[in-house]
Symmetry: C2
């Protein structure tokens, strides 16, 4: 079992979907990622929160064994995000973003973290992602990165520089098309692979995920759910399952990567069943094993 | 190997996509279906064309061994359809429909056809689909049906009556939601199964297909193509591969149905690579076997 470092955001989210509404609940890319990955391996989180960050949220992560020594408390307020979904849960409308302490976030890795074998650069400014990479004392065994439209448009050069240095990118389908300037998703994935990451994982919401690795595609559907309550954090939860599984196995070969995509899909399928981390906080390891088996059945061609 | 009967339309299609334009080319649900299925089994086609139907089109089907004794030539012109696609190839805009001889079509099965063990009721008026079922002398081993928004809205009662009598429905995702009055596709598939067909196959264009059978889901992605030229006929080609494979095997058990969904996807993936039947006319059996193996690799979880 190898350790897994994540650098990203911890947030207070306010979310409205056709199925309900929550205000200032625990969110953020590093939060969803680390909570999800904690079911597989030892996770260490680097992020920043404000002085207003509720103690119970911190305890929630600690109770899962997430190492929070890298969670800085800065003067000011915690990053806040307000989003709204309609019936098409693949489309989110951001109503408000208050960066607060995230605006001044400069991740600093303690000595121990600089040798982490597995590293996830969650969705933050690509210049910070680059800065984290520069702090690593040894090249990690596997570095994965997530990004979003805001950076694709706003910091394309920094994003290209960090992309050239990572092994895996996880990205949603719309952003993959945007990053590659290519409407055909298959060509877009190939174009992104040519920018650096030898593995491209495209998250397609209700349509599942695809992975392009060594010019070979692998597809996993989304778990067939009767009700999806809130897709917020699904992508980061996916990445947590994906990287958590690989770190736990300490393997990065093809078959392990395929299973990792399924574990990512498994974890994401739980997250969307309720708001915030609510469903994950009720999760048992047996639930993960059961749903992994169910996923296998969804795509099993031969009996 | 069992015989396969299809009742549906033969058309002259004019289609425009962002990649090109064709005028009055061979089309129609029964055409795509039977051409596709002809790679697997003996197909007998029942449909109607006008006196203007070009002889080379008839020969194209005959050359594939499709039995055209049931293809009536009626006084008047052949059914014509004009459609247009934008960059989202999952969305078609029908610009013109001239039913012509299809308006008076009353399918009459010759004696031999009334005992066909495999029957596909392609997309025509559900009252005609019912009428075909009534003409069968023995209950077929497997009856599948396709339909569209036009009948879901225009003939809901006849559609419900015929649905209660078939084993399989193939339907696209938007129409599945419409038929079930349910935006969640998983619930929609379950609702449709409760209307009669114990197997529901939902076609999702670039997102592949899913099958619900005995309360169990199976998912197949679309083949990752760099270029899709024209999706016209993809659904009927899918159905042709699906039913053609089952008839060829003379099996309708679960594992055969799963493989049939993949063969359907294989055939559809060829059709969309060019306009009309163009790509299919260049198809070799080895191409089908190769692409089936490629599909298997796309979803293979364990090496």
């Amino acid at each position: 079992m190898a350790e897994l470092l994540v650098v990203g955001s911890v947030a207070l989210d306010s979310v409205e979907t056709p199925f309900g509404k929550v205000r200032e609940v625990l969110g953020g890319s590093a939060t969803y990622f680390s909570y999800s990955a904690s079911f597989f391996t030892q996770v260490r989180l680097v992020a920043t929160v404000g002085e207003d960050f509720p103690e119970p949220h911190r305890r929630l992560l600690e109770d899962r064994g997430v190492d929070l020594h890298g969670l800085q408390t800065s003067k000011g307020k915690t990053f806040r995000w307000v989003g709204q979904y309609g019936y098409d849960l693949n489309e989110v409308k951001t109503l408000d973003t208050q960066l607060n302490v995230l605006a001044e976030f400069r991740p600093t890795l303690g000595e121990a973290l600089r040798r982490s074998p597995f590293l996830f650069l969650a969705n933050i400014d690509p210049q910070l992602q680059l800065d984290v990479l520069r702090q690593m004392k040894e090249p990690p065994r596997l570095v994965a990165l997530d990004t979003m439209n805001f950076w694709i448009q706003g910091k394309p050069e920094a994003l290209r520089r960090v992309l050239a240095k990572v092994d895996v990118i996880t990205i949603n389908d719309g952003e993959a098309r945007q990053l590659a300037s290519e409407p055909n998703l298959i060509r877009a994935a190939r174009a992104i692979a040519s920018m650096g990451p030898r593995t491209v994982v495209v998250k397609r919401g209700e349509y599942g995920a695809l992975m392009l690795a060594d010019d070979t595609f692998f597809f996993v559907p989304a778990y067939p759910l009767d009700s999806v309550y809130d897709p917020t954090g699904a992508g980061d939860t996916f990445a947590g399952g994906f990287m958590g599984y690989l770190a736990a196995q300490d393997r990065i070969d093809g078959p392990a990567m395929r299973r990792a995509v399924v574990y990512g899909s498994v974890m994401a399928s739980f997250t969307v069943e309720d708001f915030s981390l609510t469903r994950l906080t009720r999760l048992k390891p047996a639930d993960i094993a059961d749903r992994y088996a169910a996923f296998h059945d969804l795509i099993r061609l031969e009996p």
